[in-house]
C-alpha cells in the first residue's frame, strides 16, 4: 500500500513543479496520451507515468503495454532523472529500453528539467520495496527456520535413539526407570529383612 502513497507524493511533486513553471506546457502537450513504464531491475517493481495535457499521473498498474518501457537498476534510474548528460546512461548496457526511443529522449529532457528531489522519492519507492521484500523474506525464513529447527530436532532424536541406539527412547527410558524403582523397592525390602534376621540371630546369640 505504501508504494501507492509514495507514487502519489511523487506525482504531486512533479505536477506542483510543472504548474509553477508554465514553460513546460508545450512539452506536456507533445507527450499528451503517452505512457511510460519504469521497472526497477532486481526488485521486479514497475510503475507507470501517464502524460496528459494538464498533468502527469503515476500508478503501479497499466492495462496495456506502455509506449515506452525502461528497465534499469535503481542507481541508473536515478541518473536518468538527474543527470544532464543522461544519454550515456540511457544507452548503457544495464538499461533496457522497449518502445519509442525518441519518446525516451523527450521524456528524459522534460524530467531532467523538473528540479525536484528525485533522490528522495526514488529512495522512498526503492526503500519501500526493499522493506516489503525484506519483511517477506524475514517472515518466510523465520517460518522456514522454525520448521528446519523442528525437523532437525526430530531427526537428531530419531538418529540417536533408533539408528545409533546411543540414547533410549522416552518409552524405554520410562520402562527402565520403573524397573529401577521396583528393584530399589525390592532391595529396600531385602535390606529390612536382613536387618530383622541379623537382629533376631544377634539376640539369640547373646542369650547363649
Amino acid at each position: 500500500m505504501q508504494s501507492v502513497v509514495v507514487l502519489a507524493m511523487l506525482e504531486q511533486a512533479i505536477n506542483a513543479y510543472l504548474k509553477a513553471h508554465s514553460n513546460y506546457q508545450q512539452s506536456l502537450e507533445q507527450l499528451n496520451g503517452k505512457t511510460l513504464g519504469l521497472e526497477i531491475k532486481g526488485l521486479a517493481f514497475r510503475f507507470y507515468f501517464i502524460f496528459t495535457k494538464e498533468k502527469i499521473f503515476l500508478q503501479s498498474t497499466l492495462n496495456e503495454q506502455p509506449d515506452l518501457m525502461i528497465t534499469a537498476p535503481p542507481f541508473s534510474l536515478l541518473q536518468l532523472f538527474t543527470k544532464k548528460q543522461a544519454e550515456a546512461v540511457l544507452f548503457s548496457a544495464e538499461v533496457e529500453i522497449k518502445g519509442d526511443v525518441i519518446l525516451a529522449q523527450q521524456i528524459k529532457k522534460l524530467f531532467n528539467e523538473v528540479d525536484i528531489d528525485w533522490d528522495y522519492y526514488l529512495s522512498l519507492i526503492v526503500g519501500d520495496i526493499v522493506a516489503n521484500e525484506s519483511k517477506r523474506f524475514v517472515d518466510n525464513n523465520i517460518e522456514r527456520l522454525k520448521n528446519f529447527a523442528t525437523n532437525l530436532s526430530n531427526n537428531i532424536v530419531e538418529y540417536i535413539q533408533e539408528e545409533k541406539n546411543i540414547l533410549p527412547s522416552k518409552y524405554r527410558a520410562e520402562e527402565f526407570f520403573k524397573e529401577v524403582d521396583a528393584l530399589r523397592s525390592e532391595t529396600d525390602l531385602l535390606e529390612m529383612k536382613i536387618k530383622r534376621l541379623e537382629k533376631k540371630h544377634g539376640a539369640t546369640g547373646s542369650q547363649k
Binding site: M1, V4, V5, L7, A8, N32, G33, K34, T35, I50, T52, K53, E54, K55, F57, Q59, S60, T61, L62, N63, E64
Partner: protein
C-alpha cells in the same frame, strides 16, 4: 425463492429496498463528502487512490463508475483518460448524481464526463462497451448483487476489469469490538450532528455488517463469469478491493 431481502438488520420485501435506499441517499447526498471524511477520518481518500492505481486505466479508455455518487473516482479517471476517453458516472440516485455533477463541473472537470441515472442490476449500455467498471461503496445497497455482477460483466469489454471497493470483514478479530463500538455508537451520532439524520447512518453501519465477506464476494464474482478474481484487504479488512477480469465476448 424468498421475496425478502435485508435493509440493514431489517428484513423487508425485495420491492421495497430500492426506494428505502433511495430515501437514505436523498437524505445524505448534500453532506456525503464531509461525512465520508468524518467517518473514515479521511482514510477513504487512500482507499480510493488505491482503487484508481489498481484500475490501471490509460488514455482513451472508457470507464463506468457505478454508484459514482459525488464523483471522487470519476474525477481522477477523467483526468487520466483524457479527451479521447470518457467516464460515465452512473448512480441510481438522482440527488447523488446532481451533487456529483455540481462538484465536478465546479472543478472544471467537463467534456469527457457523462452522468446517467442507472440501476446496476439492469445497465442500459451495449455489450462489451467499457474498459473498466468501478463500484465504490455501492454494492451493499444493491438488492440483487448477483444480477448486478452479471450486468457489469456484460457491459465490460473482454479483457476489461471490474473493481469493487466495499466494506468487508476485519482480518484482526481483536479490533472487531472497537470497530463495532465506533460504528454503532459514533457514526450515527456524527450523522445526527452533521446531517440531522441518525437513521440513515444507522442503516449504513447495519448494511456494512450485512455485506458479504471477502471470500463470498470473490465467489459471487467468479459465478458471474469473472476470471482472475482477487482481493486486497485495506486497513485490516475494514474495506476490501476486489478485482476481476472479463475474458469472454458476449
Amino acid at each position: 425463492m424468498t421475496n425478502k431481502t435485508d435493509f440493514g438488520f431489517k428484513k423487508i420485501n425485495i420491492q421495497e429496498k430500492a426506494s428505502l435506499v433511495r430515501g437514505v441517499f436523498d437524505s445524505v447526498a448534500n453532506n456525503y463528502d464531509i461525512m465520508n471524511d468524518l467517518m473514515s477520518l479521511g482514510i477513504h481518500r487512500i482507499w480510493k487512490r488505491i482503487t484508481i492505481d489498481q484500475a490501471g486505466v490509460k488514455p482513451s479508455d472508457r470507464i463506468l463508475d457505478l454508484a459514482g455518487g459525488t464523483g471522487d473516482l470519476a474525477k481522477q479517471f477523467a483526468a487520466r483518460v483524457g479527451g479521447q476517453g470518457e467516464v460515465i458516472v452512473a448512480d441510481i440516485n438522482h440527488k447523488m448524481l446532481l451533487a456529483g455533477r455540481e462538484k465536478l463541473v465546479s472543478q472544471g472537470r467537463v467534456g469527457n464526463v457523462y452522468y446517467v441515472q442507472a440501476d446496476a442490476q439492469n445497465l442500459a449500455f451495449p455489450d462489451n462497451y467499457f474498459d473498466c467498471v468501478t463500484m465504490a461503496f455501492g454494492l451493499r445497497n444493491v438488492t440483487n448483487k448477483a444480477l448486478a455482477l452479471q450486468s457489469i460483466e456484460r457491459v465490460l469489454k473482454p479483457g476489461g476489469r471490474l473493481l469493487i471497493l466495499e466494506f468487508s470483514k476485519l482480518t484482526v478479530p481483536l479490533f472487531q469490538k472497537i470497530y463495532d463500538l465506533y460504528s454503532f455508537n459514533v457514526i450515527p451520532k456524527i450523522g445526527r450532528l452533521v446531517t440531522g439524520d441518525e437513521a440513515s447512518y444507522q442503516y449504513l453501519v447495519e448494511s456494512i455488517k450485512m455485506q458479504p465477506d471477502q471470500e463470498t464476494l470473490k465467489t459471487m464474482m467468479l459465478e458471474a463469469g469473472f476470471k482472475a478474481v482477487t482481493y486486497k484487504n485495506l486497513s485490516g479488512g475494514v474495506v476490501a478491493l476486489h478485482q476481476g477480469i472479463k475474458t469472454r465476448e458476449n
